[in-house]
């Protein structure tokens, strides 16, 4: 079942089309990556999903029903890229304030705050002012106030910016934990290695349009160049390398990068070396990283846009 479905969403501003006919759907419990270069329309998209702005056309379905910002907003947690807290407010008061604005009673909010502050080991900061905290610490408070009301849909825009590796890991673990317990997560970032690590599904947008949509594994398969990395115990002489199964793309110190020919199987490559009595020490298919797919696709759509 899909927690969120966008159908032909459009948002036009005077000078440009920020979001131009985008559709996709997000299954419950998935970690969904929303990718795109700066100015692609991600923030506009997220603001529509969070009910901050309204689409010019198209529909948003939340939990199978038409999205009603007024009521559904309490089931959504949004941590925008541009985020901040009241500098002069105490950490505890700030968390309480944001929790109550999400519809929690003071009592509930108190319990959740205790739970999360304990979990993140920040109980001792409760009476500190936000401005006394480091940026990373503020980020933790911000994260807590985003998830405190147990949203069905959690939207995180660059959640790791400003965090050290330890705290990044802490938040990342928390994201997995939440996903496991059924929270759907939209994750927007520029850091592609994190996307591969965290997301199971991505959408790539550029210039207001959807470029790609699918599971991360599937996308890497779809864009693969049929390349393999093979390491050998001893390098063969060039005469031994003649074959119709693959072409050598690159020679390494202890092996090759090869491209497999259309009708050949991976075992054909291995058989070739075995046949010549050469020991294979390592063999793996080279799949494109999301980073490579991203750059390639963005370039293509930019070119198309330039031609049109």
């Amino acid at each position: 079942m899909n927690v969120l479905e966008l159908q032909h969403l459009k948002k036009h501003y005077a000078t440009h089309k920020a979001v131009d006919d985008i559709s996709f759907s997000i299954p419950k419990g998935s970690i969904f990556g929303l990718l795109g270069p700066n100015g692609a329309g991600k923030t506009t998209l997220l603001r529509m999903i969070t009910g901050i702005i309204y689409p010019d056309a198209g529909d948003i379905l939340f939990d199978g029903r038409p999205f009603d910002p007024h009521n559904d907003i309490q089931y959504i947690g949004y941590m925008p890229e541009e985020r901040g807290l009241y500098k002069k407010m105490k950490v505890g008061e700030q968390a309480m304030y944001l929790a109550q604005l999400k519809g929690l009673s003071a009592h509930e909010a108190r319990q959740r705050i205790d739970y999360w502050f304990n979990k993140f080991e920040i109980t001792s900061w409760t009476n500190k002012k936000i401005e006394e905290l480091s940026k990373g610490m503020q980020q933790k408070v911000q994260f807590i106030s985003t998830v405190m009301h147990q949203p069905k849909l959690l939207i995180l825009d660059e959640p790791f910016s400003g965090l050290d590796p330890i705290n990044s890991q802490l938040i990342q673990d928390e994201i997995f934990q939440l996903a496991k317990s059924g929270t759907t997560i939209i994750f927007s970032t520029h850091r592609m290695e994190q996307v591969e690590e965290i997301c199971d599904h991505i959408v790539l947008v550029n210039k207001g349009k959807k470029v790609l949509d699918g599971p991360v594994k599937q996308i890497r398969q779809d864009f693969k160049h049929h390349l393999f990395r093979i390491s050998l115990a001893s390098m063969p002489n060039p005469a031994q390398m003649a074959t119709h199964h693959f072409e050598i793309v690159k020679q390494h110190e202890n092996g090759y990068t090869v491209k497999i020919n259309e009708y050949s199987q991976t075992n054909d490559i291995l058989a070739h070396f075995i046949h010549h009595g050469i020991q294979v020490t390592y063999f793996e298919e080279i799949l494109p990283t999301i980073h490579e797919v991203f750059i390639q696709q963005v370039k293509i759509t930019d070119l198309e846009a330039a031609v049109n």
């Binding site: 907003i73 941590m79 925008p80 541009e82 009241y86 109550q100 604005l101 106030s145």
Partner: protein
């Protein structure tokens, strides 16, 4: 609990709990009192002139008595030499009256180190004139005492309205000035407070987090109402202090309670305190405090709401650059300042065209109307004017709030770009 109520509570509590709020609330009345009392004390103590007089005419000897802060001393000396030494002998100035024909006065010269003080010139000229006038009367054969009898001294008692209340123009003037000025300060101070609050939310990127929980309009109104609460609290504390001083402290100082009847009959008071008490009693008795205070509250809130929304809109347009704030607030502060200028006229001339229209148009009405009200409702301010003024202020603040909400909604989420007035205009007329 309603979200807007949560916002109001935060905006109110964070401000009221601040030390600066408590300090200004308690200190401002003291400063104000000092502002009123100090100049009075200074004027009375300032002059300390010791003036040497060389009177070659002989008309003035013994006719220039000392007065407060001015001492005349006749010296018998030559001008040429004395002019060089009078300062060494402890005189602050030297007045030289040459030989003169009483009907054709020559120039009289005053020598001093610096410029002659304004008040000294006035009082010295008056003294000299009266001596000359007396002399001329004597020469013309006019009996001075007869003339004194002829002279009349008239003071008008003003009974205003159908109930012929004894009004006090002075009281109305002072209260009008004070109330108008207070509203002027309120509009600027609390308007700026709203603006700074909005700017804080925008530049610290809090707005973006907030609008995913509440509507921008709730955020804006919560702030405006919360700060209105802060202003009201401050005002009520001041009223409380004033009433406290009036009912507890004054009787303690003057040794009597303040109702006019008891002032008149109280035995055993010195003439001075009796006079003082009577003055205060007639001052406070001459105006309708209930209507002034309740209308003050109305214009205080109405004017604040009218302008606060505009200040919020401006705050939402400002980016990091504080210069932006200055140039953007100018169009809003200008009418407030204009209101102040009209108010200064209105408090002298409460029924002039300028005062009447200034007190009806909502941009200026809160300040200007408060200057007119102490002169009497419905006497000086007819009920239709008051009604029209109140109605247009309410309508006005609904319009400014509506306009401001449109600007605010877009403005708080706009970063980096400097917006032009043209764009802002488009936001106002754009549908959501």
């Amino acid at each position: 609990m309603n979200k807007i109520w949560i916002i109001i509570k935060r905006e109110y509590l964070t401000r009221v709990r601040k030390k600066s709020f408590i300090v200004t609330t308690l200190l401002l009345p003291v400063l104000f009192a000092a502002m009123v009392i100090l100049p009075g004390l200074l004027i009375n103590s300032d002059n300390n002139e010791k003036i040497a007089v060389i009177d070659e005419s002989g008309y003035f000897a013994g006719k220039l008595p000392d007065e407060k802060g001015i001492q005349y001393k006749f010296v018998d000396a030559k001008l040429d030499t004395f002019k060089k030494t009078y300062r060494d002998q402890g005189y602050t100035g030297l007045l030289h009256i040459p030989k003169l024909d009483i009907n054709r006065l020559p120039a009289i010269v005053y020598y001093s180190k610096g410029q002659m003080p304004f008040t000294l010139r006035g009082s010295m000229e008056k003294r000299l004139e009266s001596v000359v006038e007396d002399k001329r009367m004597e020469l013309a054969g006019v009996d001075k005492s007869k003339l004194e009898e002829i002279r009349a001294d008239i003071s008008i008692d003003n009974l205003a309205g159908d109930d012929e209340r004894k009004g006090s123009t002075v009281a109305a003037y002072i209260i009008g000035w004070f109330a108008g000025f207070l509203i002027y300060i309120v509009l600027l101070v609390f308007g700026m407070m709203v603006m700074r609050g909005v700017m804080e939310e925008k530049t610290n990127r809090i707005a973006e987090v907030m609008v995913s929980s509440v509507k921008p309009f709730q955020l804006m109104m919560g702030k405006i109402v919360g700060i209105a609460g802060v202003g009201l609290t401050q005002f009520l504390i001041w009223v409380g202090l004033l009433v406290g001083i009036y009912t507890l402290l004054l009787p303690l100082i003057l040794g009597t309670d303040m109702s006019a009847a008891s002032v008149a009959t109280q035995p055993g008071m010195t003439a001075a305190t009796k006079d003082m008490a009577q003055k205060i009693a007639s001052f406070t008795g001459s105006v309708n405090w209930f209507s002034i205070v309740s209308l003050f509250l109305f214009y205080f809130l109405g004017g604040y709401l009218f302008y606060a929304a505009l200040f919020a809109a401006v705050g939402s347009l400002v980016n990091e650059d504080p210069n932006d704030a200055q140039s953007l607030t100018f169009p809003i502060t200008l009418p407030v300042i204009v209101a102040m200028v009209i108010m200064i006229q209105a408090v002298v001339n409460p029924t002039s065209q300028l005062a009447v229209w200034g007190s009806i148009i909502p941009f200026t009405s809160p300040v200007v109307m408060m200057a007119r009200i102490p002169y009497g409702v419905p006497g000086t301010v007819p009920l239709w004017q008051l009604g029209l003024s109140m109605f247009s202020l309410i309508a006005g603040f609904l319009v400014t709030t509506w306009v401001a909400a449109k600007i605010y909604r877009t403005g708080i989420l706009m970063y980096g770009k400097k917006v032009t007035l043209g764009e802002v205009g488009k936001w106002i007329f754009r549908k959501s």
